[in-house]
Amino acid sequence: MGAILSISWTASIREIGMRGYFHVFLVVAVAAAGLATFFTPSRLTLADAQPVVATSYRKESVKRFLQAFDSDRTARYIAVFYDLTGDGKSEAIIYLMSNGWCGTGGCNTLILQEDASSWRIVSNQTITRPPIRVLVSTSRGWHSIGVWRQGGSPEPGYEAELRFDGQTYRTIVPQAKNSAGEVVIASIDRAIPLYP
């Protein structure tokens, strides 16, 4: 099918005067890429997005990024590396704890994406608590995230769903209570100091 497409596209190109093997190659490549995109499942599964064992380099890279982000020497954090997009590259899910980021509503959860040799903040969510889950459901190619929200009112807590909108994660109401997913940060027990 890709070959048929390339032949007819090539013929069209010839008709407008563009010739040469390079153009043939280009058209075949574009057609193949289009087909690959067409047949890619739109709904990822957790099998596509597994926790990634991060190298010490990536761990250090995230730590350096967070140190630039928060100068509080008492800060602690939990970093989990997870391929949220199914592209083979893991994103980082961070639970950041310090006096500045925390209150009775919990602390901030950051979603980071690798950007050249550093990271960029895709999302910075306030008043979140563990357990933090990666959900099976996806939005715009990114797995949704479940975070616990409780505190700051006598009302009971609930799990909120963070859904990717193409640029960042936004909280969706109602809660993600019964959504399938995997706990990636269960508690703050494994938090480590951000500074030596």
């Binding site: 928060d70 704890m97 310090s98 006096n99 500045g100 980021w101 925390c102 209150g103 009775t104 509503g105 919990g106 602390c107 901030n108 306030t126 008043i127 608590r129 563990p130 357990p131 616990w148 929200r149 409780q150 505190g151 700051g152 009112s153 006598p154 009302e155 807590g157 909120a160 909280t171 969706i172 109401v173 940060i185 269960a186 508690s187 703050i188």
Partner: protein
């Protein structure tokens, strides 16, 4: 409410209120001691509150009856002397502390278990992250002192970082920081509460709600 004339042994200036607590506070409500205030129904007591206070209570303790909201206010009044002691040496007022207690727990001593630790007591202090034990966080005197000092520290931080804040804005920001930290305050007076509870169920309102709750104690 049990304010009866039998407590008139307090003498002139006494508030005719039963004192059930060792801390010198009484268990009476905002009308305690006023002529004719005895044996008021919760509705009657509610009707004496300002619209600002009523609205703030409805926001702070939603899905609660008028009796429940009045009761939370009266529990805070009952702890007044303890709260006054707790704020000594700080820039925090006792009514701010009372308002935080209502917002956090309806001024009820309770424990809140979750993955980030345990929120303990009237001020929902995180254990062990705060450095307090559950027993300390559940003790009103210790917890009130901790909360007052935390708010005082936050107020200093925010005042230094945002010198352009008015006193009202600084108060709101300090209150909001109790819920989501000082770093989440951007410095824009219009967005002080953005990101605080009860977000995302509704726009954040923590700081402004505390300020409005303080009206109940004036």
């Amino acid at each position: 409410m049990d304010c009866t004339a039998q407590w008139s042994d307090e003498g002139p200036g006494g508030d005719d209120c039963q004192n059930m607590f060792d801390d010198g506070s009484d268990d009476c409500g905002p009308l305690c001691g006023l002529a004719g205030s005895q044996n008021l129904t919760p509705q009657a007591e509610w009707d004496t509150l300002t619209p600002t206070c009523q609205g703030a209570l409805q926001t702070a303790v939603p899905k609660t009856t008028i009796g429940g909201m009045v009761a939370s206010l009266n529990r805070a009044f009952a702890a007044q002397s303890t709260l006054i002691d707790a704020v000594k040496g700080t820039s925090i007022s006792w009514d701010m502390l009372a308002a935080v207690g209502i917002r956090e727990s309806a001024f009820v001593d309770k424990n809140e278990n979750d993955g980030a630790g345990i929120g303990v007591g009237i001020f929902q202090i995180s254990v062990p992250a705060s450095g307090l034990t559950a027993s300390q966080a559940g003790d009103l005197t210790t917890a009130a002192s901790y909360a007052a000092n935390l708010l005082n520290s936050d107020m200093k931080t925010l005042a230094a970082e945002f010198p352009g804040f008015t006193s009202g804005q600084l108060l709101q920001a300090t209150a909001a920081s109790y819920n989501f930290g000082t770093t989440n305050i951007s410095g824009n007076p219009a967005t002080i509460d953005v990101g605080s509870a009860p977000y995302p169920k509704a726009p954040g309102n923590y700081g402004s709600n505390i300020v409005n709750l303080m009206d109940c104690f004036h």
